[in-house]
């Protein structure tokens, strides 16, 4: 699971859960896998993200180094920033661990890099 994916995941489908966001990450295995750097892509995707959630997720995995807590203006032109963001968004991957719903405490396992977000029928709203 990449952190860009984590930025969009919620547990809102659980019965009694309102937003289910952000999910807390507990990782037992984190890897950095290389992905092609496309600065234009990173620059354009940033406005679509919840940056605070991204920063905290990166921090919880020990990968917040060099990543600003707030996106500065003119970030599109800052190659170094875009590169750091690229790494955090696309290259840092949680291989094993689990996600936790902030409201219900329900855990979602991450195995071989894939978060399992399936719910049983009884758990659904």
């Amino acid at each position: 699971m990449k952190l860009i994916t984590h930025n969009m995941l919620t547990s809102k489908c659980l019965k009694g859960v309102l937003t289910g966001y952000p999910l807390a990450i507990n990782a037992t295995d984190v890897k950095v896998n290389e992905v092609d750097f496309n600065p234009d892509f990173i620059a354009r995707i940033i406005p679509k993200l919840d940056w605070e959630v991204l920063w905290r997720a990166a921090d919880s995995l020990g990968h917040s180094e060099g990543l600003p807590q707030v996106v500065e203006s003119n970030y599109e032109a800052n190659q170094e920033f875009l590169k750091t963001a690229h790494k955090v968004l696309l290259e840092v991957e949680v291989e094993e661990g689990y996600l936790t719903c902030p409201e219900s405490g329900r855990q979602f396992p991450i195995t071989k890099g894939i978060p399992n977000m399936l719910l049983t029928e009884a758990e659904v709203q």
């Binding site: 699971m1 969009m8 995941l9 966001y21 896998n33 992905v35 092609d36 234009d40 892509f41 995707i45």
Partner: protein, 595 residues
């Protein structure tokens, strides 16, 4: 001279095509078999046209067989001897004897044998009493009913006695009997029928149909509730082939001779549909011993045909009131069709969608590699920085790895397929999540594009299909677009159908929680909207697919009618931008409206 050259060139080109597509060789040496190109079933060329050509050169008696395959613009003629064939060839090759287009001919070593073998027995409760009336009686009945043109149905002429049969609702209005009752000339039939041992009530309604050659009647069951359990049909004038079809897929072509009485009772009356194809000829149907078991008789639709003449049929029915009380429910108008309810739907999907995909994941994935061209086309216009969700991504074949300017998120329920997907997207700006479309664990309005290919047809209730499409809508940003595709019920325009399988169908059903689902015969046209499609599982050994299948698994499908997917999108507040049919799928590109 030029014409001869052109003719030769065309013939050679055609010969090459015939060899590769049908395995039939064109030969120079004259023989009894000739292929005619530029004329065939697809161009409306019929046996009658050949006969005309033959009569001019006095070869009428010499024709053994005429074969015009469905959908082809060539056909074959087979002669008794090669001299006749040669005369025909020399007379007509390269000429415009039939149409503006010249007919090119070649001798061929062989002709296709496309006989159709029907293994099913005639419907239970159906009797054909041959020679029920004499030739003289037939003449007087024809005089009695051969009225002057009062055509009121587009396919045939019809007249009613006793009560008017209403074609729109397929019933009669009992409150308005006609002044013209069934003529007393028919009374003689009843005592004769009784002496045949048939138990029936004297009919009070009669419909007379006059079919000219080329006219037919669509497949139908006489509506259950307005009529009693015996329907009789007396044939005058010309024999005809009547097609009998059962909802289980059984098909029986039956010759109904002139002067015969057709008695429909029980299963034949209530559970089968019958109809007559609109054509000027009928195939000759032979009863032969089965190859497997000589005691079993099979019906064979041969390549040979016979011309139809005018046929008049007298159909006799007994009217009745109240709901039907038959024990055949499939075609009964007094039974409300049972809808698949929500609780049943999710169990059905668990057994016949989710579990099946887990089991077939490896084999399934090995049969699907390339992204679908329509997906590539859809994603082409996607701007840099877009978030694309592929919901029901399978093995991720539609994730375009070269697109490092967009985020592609593959959501899939099957763990087996997701493993393949994860391996596929490694190193790309893409990721995988295990999810269920109806419980999508994603933030609202997070996506610029959604693709949902061959997924929505696996939801087994209308409510769940709508929920699936609504979920897609809720995940899209305003202005975002989705490409949704589903299997179409109509497969006639795809490569899915196999020509050899047209009449070969299974009649198995599986019942889940009281829902009776038919099992589809692969590579045939779909006959139901909700059905189970077999997947013949093959194991993978040493990275190779085994040839033999050892297990058959059944996947549930709801196959879509034209416009059905568009309606779902509209109901989910998505604006349909484009809707098209592609290789057996209905596809929609829709947009979430800007706020």
């Amino acid at each position: 001279m030029n014409e001869t050259k052109k003719c030769d060139r065309k013939r050679k080109k055609f010969a090459a095509r015939l060899k590769t597509s049908k395995g039939i060789l064109c030969v120079d040496q004259p023989g009894p078999n000739i292929v005619l190109c530029n004329v065939g079933q697809a161009t409306g060329f019929e046996k009658a046209d050949v006969i005309k050509l033959l009569d001019t050169v006095r070869l009428g008696e010499k024709l053994l067989n005429f074969i015009a395959e469905k959908g082809e613009s060539h056909c074959y003629v087979v002669f008794n001897d090669f001299e006749s064939a040669k005369l025909f060839y020399d007379t007509y090759n390269g000429t415009k004897a039939v149409t503006q287009v010249p007919i090119y001919m070649s001798y061929v070593d062989n002709v296709p044998k496309n006989e159709v073998i029907c293994n099913y027995e005639i419907p239970e409760g159906l009797k054909i009493i041959e020679n029920f009336i004499t030739v003289d009686e037939e003449k007087s009945y024809i005089q009695l009913f051969d009225w002057v043109d009062e055509s009121n149905l587009k396919n045939r002429q019809v007249k009613h006695y006793g009560y008017e049969f209403r074609y729109g609702s397929n019933d009669v209005d009992l409150s308005t009997p006609l002044s013209e009752k069934i003529p007393e000339e028919c009374d003689a039939l009843w005592s004769r029928l009784k002496s045949c041992g048939i138990d029936f009530r004297i009919p009070d309604q009669m419909t007379v149909n006059k079919y000219n050659p080329g006219q037919g009647i669509p497949s139908h069951v006489d509506k259950h509730s307005p009529f009693g359990d015996t329907i009789l049909s007396l044939s005058l004038g010309s024999p005809v082939v009547m097609d009998w079809r059962h909802h289980s897929g059984k098909y029986v072509p039956l010759v109904v001779p002139a002067r015969s009485l057709l008695v429909m009772q029980g299963e034949a009356r209530y559970d089968w549909q019958h109809g007559i194809q609109p054509r000027g000829w009928d195939p000759i149907i032979e009863i032969r011993s089965s190859n497997q078991n000589t005691d079993t008789k099979v019906r064979v639709i041969t390549n040979d045909v016979t011309q139809r003449q005018t046929r008049i049929s007298l159909t006799f029915r007994c009217t009745r009131r109240g709901p039907c009380d038959c024990r055949y429910k499939a075609l009964c108008d007094s039974v409300q069709s049972k809808l698949i309810e929500d609780g049943v739907a999710s169990r059905l999907e668990e057994f016949h969608v989710h579990q099946v995909y887990e089991q077939i994941a490896g084999h399934f994935s090995s049969t699907r590699h390339k992204p679908w061209p329509k997906v590539v086309e859809f994603l082409q216009s996607t701007p840099t920085g877009a978030v694309v969700l592929d919901l029901g991504a399978g093995n991720g074949k539609n994730v375009l790895k070269h697109r490092n300017d967009i985020l592609q998120l593959a959501g899939e329920r099957s763990a087996g397929l997701l493993r393949e997907c994860a391996a596929h997207v490694r190193g790309a700006s893409a990721d995988c999540v295990r999810l269920d479309l109806l419980q999508a664990p994603l933030r609202r309005a997070c996506a610029d594009r959604v693709i949902c290919v061959a997924v929505v047809h696996h939801f087994s209730s209308q409510a769940r299909r709508l929920e699936a499409v609504s979920t897609i809508g809720s995940l899209l940003r305003p202005g975002g677009k989705a490409l949704i595709t589903v299997w179409a019920k109509d497969q006639t325009k795809s490569n899915y159908l196999s020509k050899d399988k047209e009449n070969q169908e299974s009649n198995l059903h599986v019942t889940i929680d009281g829902i009776n689902l038919p099992i589809h015969e692969n590579r045939t046209q779909f006959k139901h909207n909700d059905l189970l499609v077999p997947w013949k599982l093959r194991k993978i050994k040493e990275n190779k697919l085994e040839n033999q299948s050892n297990t058959t698994l059944l996947r549930y499908y709801h196959v879509f009618e034209e416009g059905e997917l568009d309606n779902l999108c509209t109901s989910a507040d998505l604006v349909v931008e484009r809707s098209f049919y592609e290789e057996g799928n209905w596809c929609v590109v829709c947009t979430k409206v800007e706020l």
